[in-house]
């Protein structure tokens, strides 16, 4: 298993953002993470990459216990992520942004090698025309691509994608889904949070669903889509089941 979460919980004061979450992710899979707003999806990513350590439970990455390790340690081990709210390094150029990923992430490249990797990666995500611009001058769709390029330039083993499709138009979504597939084909395991249903149903091998910090469903996209608990979480209880219950 590349990633194993064992009974992970995280609370903020009295709020239980995550309770007893157990997930395993084998190498080479695309795992989708669904859940209504506030279900704890981003918190789960923060727990995995060390931004906020779990209150209880363990996280294992590549067979090692990484619970409580700082984010940079996980990055060095081959974990990379994008942020739901993009975090470009505004005053640096697009190329420099991506070089940071290549220099300090999984492969710890030298500056010269990182420049080459940055150019390749920017071409891959379709940002090559913006290479010398300041990252702050990009539009939202471009910043999303930049986030992705930065994460990819580290050549990670596991990529956490936090809503890379949010805010994109249908054409951009199509292009991004294609990029995600290509990343998987290069052997990178992907764990992705997404609200754009048809996209995540299409691209995921398996899906897990969170609600109020608990795992309520797990399975293939078809299984999850027909799971009554998932339907209830998203649409509310139907009058029939309410009467029956």
């Amino acid at each position: 298993m590349l990633l194993e979460l064992n009974c992970v919980s995280r609370s903020f004061g009295g709020l239980h953002a995550l309770s007893d979450v157990t997930i395993t992710l084998p190498q080479g899979e695309i795992l989708g993470l669904l859940g209504p707003n506030g279900a704890g999806k981003t918190t789960l990513f923060n727990v995995i990459n060390g931004v906020c350590p779990p209150s209880a439970g363990t996280v294992r990455f590549r067979g090692q216990d990484v619970t409580g390790k700082p984010p940079y340690a996980l990055s060095h081990m081959g974990l990379a992520r994008t942020h739901q709210i993009v975090r470009p390094l505004n005053e640096l150029t697009v190329r420099e942004n991506v070089m940071v990923g290549a220099c300090f992430g999984h492969e710890q490249r030298r500056l010269g090698e990182a420049a080459t990797i940055a150019e390749q990666t920017l071409a891959f995500v379709g940002l090559e025309a913006r290479t010398n611009q300041l990252a702050g001058s990009l539009n939202v769709a471009e910043k999303k691509r930049l986030e992705l390029a930065r994460a990819l330039a580290a050549r990670p083993l596991l990529l956490l994608l936090d809503e890379v499709l949010a805010g994109l138009n249908p054409v951009e979504i199509g292009a991004m889904v294609e990029i995600v597939r290509q990343i998987r084909d290069q052997g990178v395991t992907i764990f992705m949070i997404e609200h754009v249903m048809h996209a995540i149903m299409n691209v995921s091998d398996r899906i897990v669903v969170l609600e109020y910090g608990r795992l309520i469903a797990e399975g293939t996209p078809a299984q999850v889509a027909n799971d009554p608990k998932v339907i209830e979480a998203y649409l509310g209880r139907s009058p029939h089941t309410a009467q029956a219950g």
Binding site: Y72, S75, R87, P88, L89, M99, V100, F104, A115
Partner: protein, 339 residues
């Protein structure tokens, strides 16, 4: 065969970047200008010009080194003078015991670097205004400590015997020697600033400046990077402190830990353009020019600090990236030149 060509290509890319880094007209023009202006009094042998440029070089060295932590890493430190003062004290202590200047200078730099290393572990965890407040506290604490520290002479400080200068060809000769040394250290400070900025280490620092949490997620070992940035920025003022107080002949707490020097260093870096090598140099030179005008002008001679404060306010409000930053933004053509 394939592997060999791949390796060859990799090496050639690396060295291309490495070579390109050192073919920087902006860097060499700056070094040449500072060296040229700096060497002029040595050439014509004019002592009054030497004294004017001594203060200017001192300012450039302090601003360039402060820029490493302030401009590249984004941590506003009001404690830069602490390293200047401590370096000066350590240097004066060993000088007064008979050690030569070439031993005292590296010792001053070393002491400042060690202090930065220890301090860094404690206060670089703080962010933004909290870090800044802590650095002011450090300055006050250091002054109070030295005031009561017997080996440093307490409140009276340390004075050198006039005979010390005999080893350097007499006092008049020592002044020229000290000036030459300061010029060399200033050039080294500019070179250090450029080397840090264009290195992988520097890229990590700038990532921290832009978004420390994002940098950490991307793998920058932020505690280590920040500590080393702080240490590197402390070494130059440590060495400069030895030179300054050796020239001065005596050192006392009120002179060594003047908060005013820290504030003025910040104004210089912000004026020229934080985060650019040239900005720190131009800002220091420009501010010194302004300062000497204000000090000699009878109308405003007591208002020099008030004007510096007002200037800082105006910069932060209207040109937060400084003069060089402004030019870089307006004229992208010059971006390559204005390193």
């Amino acid at each position: 065969m394939k592997v060999v060509t791949a390796v060859q290509r990799a090496i050639s890319t690396v060295s291309r970047v490495e070579i390109a880094r050192w073919i920087s007209p902006g860097l060499w023009l700056t070094l040449l200008a500072v060296a040229g202006f700096g060497a002029w009094p040595l050439v014509i042998g004019q002592a009054s010009l030497r004294e004017t440029l001594f203060t200017a070089l001192l300012a450039i060295a302090l601003a360039s080194s402060l820029n490493i932590i302030l401009g590249f890493t984004g941590y506003v430190s009001f404690g830069h003078v602490v390293f200047f003062g401590l370096g000066g004290y350590v240097g004066m202590l060993v000088l007064s015991k008979g050690a030569p200047l070439w031993v005292a200078m590296p010792l001053g730099g070393l002491a400042a670097g060690l202090l930065a290393y220890g301090l860094g572990a404690a206060i670089l965890r703080l962010r933004g205004a909290y870090f800044t407040l802590a650095t002011i506290g450090v300055n006050e604490a250091m002054r109070a400590f030295v005031n009561n520290f017997a080996p440093f002479g307490g409140a009276t400080g340390i004075s050198l015997k006039f005979t010390v200068y005999n080893d350097y060809g007499g006092a008049a000769n020592a002044l020229w020697l000290v000036y030459g040394l300061l010029l060399a250290v200033t050039l080294a400070a500019i070179l250090l600033s450029y080397t840090v900025k264009t290195s992988k280490f520097g890229l990590g620092l700038m990532a921290i400046r832009e978004d420390e949490d994002a940098a950490e997620v991307m793998g920058v070992v932020t505690p280590r990077a920040k500590t080393w940035a702080y240490v590197l920025s402390a070494i130059i003022p440590g060495i400069v402190g030895v030179i300054f107080f050796f020239k001065n002949g005596n050192i006392e707490p009120a002179d060594a830990f003047r908060l005013q020097i820290s504030i003025e260093s910040i104004v210089m870096v912000m004026l020229g353009g934080q985060g650019t090598v040239i900005g720190a140099v131009l800002g220091a030179a420009g501010y010194q020019q302004l300062r000497s005008f204000l000090l000699t002008n009878p109308l405003v001679k007591d208002l020099q600090l008030a004007i510096a404060g007002g200037l800082l306010l105006l910069i932060v409000l209207f040109i937060p990236t400084g003069v060089v930053g402004l030019i870089r933004r307006k004229l992208p053509v010059l971006r390559k030149l204005l390193v």
